[in-house]
């Protein structure tokens, strides 16, 4: 069997990070092919359930990116999200899940360079770890 391709789910907020991804494309910046973008309105939309679902369904990594704190299109969404992410990330780490598989970032729509850089960084941390084996839901 061919080696499983690493798949990283990227939840990008529509207003900042998705825009940054668009701009990175316009600027022809090259980065890892392992990222699969799911567009969400706001990083505030992301909850533990979605992140956990991604791991359970076989994502090898999850990356959530939103607007910079204070620059949320919806005023405060990412401030709330930030608390969630930190607590969730810490609890995951506490349970022994590689936190390197879970990434958060704030990237504005102008920061194409940062987007490409972080995308590559995320992939570079996850790919060498190989397919995820913790929190993956397998057949009974």
């Amino acid at each position: 069997m061919a080696e499983k391709q690493i798949k990283i789910v990227a939840f990008l907020c529509n207003w900042c990070s998705y825009g940054a991804a668009d701009l990175a494309g316009v600027s022809r910046m090259q980065y890892s092919t392992d990222i699969r973008v799911i567009r969400v309105p706001c990083s505030g939309r992301i909850d533990a359930k979605l992140i956990l679902s991604a791991f359970r369904e076989g994502a090898d990594g999850v990356w959530v990116s939103g607007c910079h704190p204070g620059e949320c299109h919806y005023l405060e969404g990412n401030y709330y999200a930030r608390r969630k992410f930190i607590l969730m990330g810490n609890l995951m780490e506490h349970m022994g899940i590689d936190k390197d598989r879970l990434h958060f970032s704030w990237i504005s729509s102008a920061e194409a360079t940062k987007f490409a850089k972080v995308a590559q960084e995320v992939a570079d941390t996850i790919v060498p770890m190989g397919p995820s084996d913790r929190f993956v839901k397998r057949a009974v």
Binding site: Q5, K7, V9, N14, Y18, G19, A21, D22, L23, A24, G25, V26, S27, R28, M29, Q30, Y31, T33, I35, R36, V37, I38, R39, V40, P41, C42, G44, R45, I46, D47, K49, L50, S53, A54, E57, G58, A59, G70, H73, Y74, L75, E76, G77, Y80, A81, K84, T113, A116
Partner: protein, 830 residues
Amino acid sequence: MKDEVVEVEVGAMILSPGFKPFDPSEFDNYQYANHPNVMTAMEFERLLSASGPTEGHLVRLSDHKEPKKIAWFQCVGSRDMNKCDNKYCSSVCCMYALKEAVIAKEHAGDDLDCTIFYMDMRTHGKDFEQSLNSAVDQGVRLVRSRIHSVEPITGSDELNIRYVTEDGNVANEIFDIIVLSVGLEITPKVMELADKIGIELTDGNFADTDSFAPVETSRKGFFVCGAFQGPKDIPQSVVDSSAAAGEASALLSDARNTLTLKPEPVPEINIQGDRPRIGVFICKCGSNINGVVNVPDVSAYAASLPCVEYACDNLYTCSQDTQDSMTQIIKANNLNRIVVAACTPKTHEPLFQETLMNAGLNKYLFEMTNIRNHASWVHKDAPDLATQKAKDLVRMSVAKVALMEPLKEGTLTINPAAMVVGGGLSGMAAAKNLAEQGYQVHVVERQPRLGGQANNLYQTFKGEDIQQEVSSLAQAIEENENIQVHLNTTLENVEGFVGSFKSDLKCESKTSTIEHGVAVIATGALPLEPSEYSYGQDNRIITSLELDQKFIADDPGLKTMESAVFIQCVGSREPDRPYCSRVCCTHSIDNALELKKANPDMHIYILYRDIRTYGEREYIYQEAREKGIIFIRYSVDNKPKIRLKDDQVSVQVTDHILNRPIEIRTDLVTLATAIVPNKDERLANFFKVPLNEDGFFVERHAKLGPSEFATDGVFLCGLAHYPKPIDEAIAHGQAAASRAVTLIARKQIHTSGNVAYVNPVICSSCGVCISICPYSAPSFETEGKNQGKASINSVLCKGCGLCMASCRSGAIHLNGFDFNQLFSQITAIN
């Protein structure tokens, strides 16, 4: 195509012919015409662009080697009376040079040396000063100097620059690329046009306008916007264009809606209960996608996915003929869900949604996935993996779209009345325009009179008498039947949302409520009360506004003074207030000239950091120098010092040329104090609009939406947005009014279907949603069978999904991004 003469009858005309970048060919000392590695900033922009000649790869054009050092020369074709005839400052070049330098470093890495040779660093725009600071932090080198000459180095592609340093020495430095920051100028054709129309031009050949009518030309009915009115950047151009549109509309308000045509709406097909029949349209985007991703392969794959009844690829899915055929395909195949795999939904979603509607489908039965920006363009060296990724993205979208449901958009009736908060110049300009366009306006002013800070100002740099203009404007406002002025009034509470706000006003102890459909925030700003330079300890140390007061009062003392000192940047461009207050350089110079007029023998010193007399304000700077006003530059870490001794005021400053401290004995010290925002958090909260760290309001978009908020129905103008001079404040007021009218003129608007809703059976009434929603959309039901359960006012909901992500019970759903929809995408990744 053959030329055709078409005659159109119009009631007003807006001139926006723009500018052309200055052509530096005639400057032989820069080698522009001779050397491929000398280019204009516009050419350099192309070099940085992914769609440019090198696909964004930064190289010397001479040999395609990566450069190590790049120099920018500022003021090429600007502020220059000798080599060209452009005395004015082009306003935008400092900022674009900084931007290019930073991007160049991002492209080529931190080792790239980027040096900007400049005279004054003019970053007077909103957030520009912060960009300047961060550029410096990122290693962009700034050299204050004017270039003497550029010499190619024989036997190499490099260029030697000879320039004079600040202390008068000649220096040489070698660069790979030289970028000429060329200015803006008006073309002869435009001048001809102006002549034909019969409008007056300024010395710089810009359309002449009055500070109090900044978009009106000298001929009635002809309006101007953009760089033809003066060199300006994008946000200011956008402001002007809205203002010009608004002023033209005011002129033509009687004719509104007399020539409109309405398209026949296509009835919506009821797909409730039908199994998903998905159509997938995959765009080749010419070769933009197909050049990397194997689009026919993706299309064949899409056809094999569950519920997909039709899949095809198109050369350009967004082209009109594809749109037409899409409509036909949807109808012919009975499709009820559509996926487009192409570019970004951020720009193209509305277009495809319209196609859905034309085919009779609810526009929410749609999902778009971005296989260009997120695949072909960013994985050009991995076509197989990019194709695989495109398939994954299509599969994810197909999974999601199957779960999309038709959504209903709410209809909001717009109350055609506006509230303008703040009765300063900007607010009055907004109110006047709104009233002239035929709408009811409430102007709410805290003070007992209209005019705001303008009541404290003496004259504009063009010499217009501000007091006279303000009182006639105030009078016009008070006399306008459409305007109700509420003086001595504060805003106590705001309820409602776009189209139907209810605001509580309090005047003395009386409260009243007004209803309005839109609001314009024009709350202005305040002068800084300085805490340095011994302010308050001697009545000869005053602020700029206090000096204006003396002019207004025609203070005889001003004529007898022997010496006057102006200190610039008092409280601006400092760590606590890292922005430029924009108006102070012009203001001080104007006042200095006024003093000079009163007493030509007076010794006048202006202590500054950078002189920022942008645009045609530059003329008075030149005049001031000509008239012997002495400009002494100081640096922020070595500020001037005031000495009060023996009833004498003296100022100590280090002369930047002599690099020696000098002491100026003076009769008057004028402090050009910063403009500070009101930081009105209460107001921000009333309208759910953001404030930035400095305390100014944050507009919808820094470039493209400077006169409105992201919050629907709330508009922004004047100094509450950022410091600005009178002409810009008035244009901003007119622009905000103009933007507001685009909303209220529609009478009704539709709200997005992508909103959240609560399943009351699952709701646990814990109140998280109510606690966190920035828009107060959720509330508890107060009666009925769901009493005590949360419910969401879909009109207030912006669809961010924060409540949903915070709802532990899973009672909240978000149309378009619901858990099952995102989950289907997640499960489809593998």
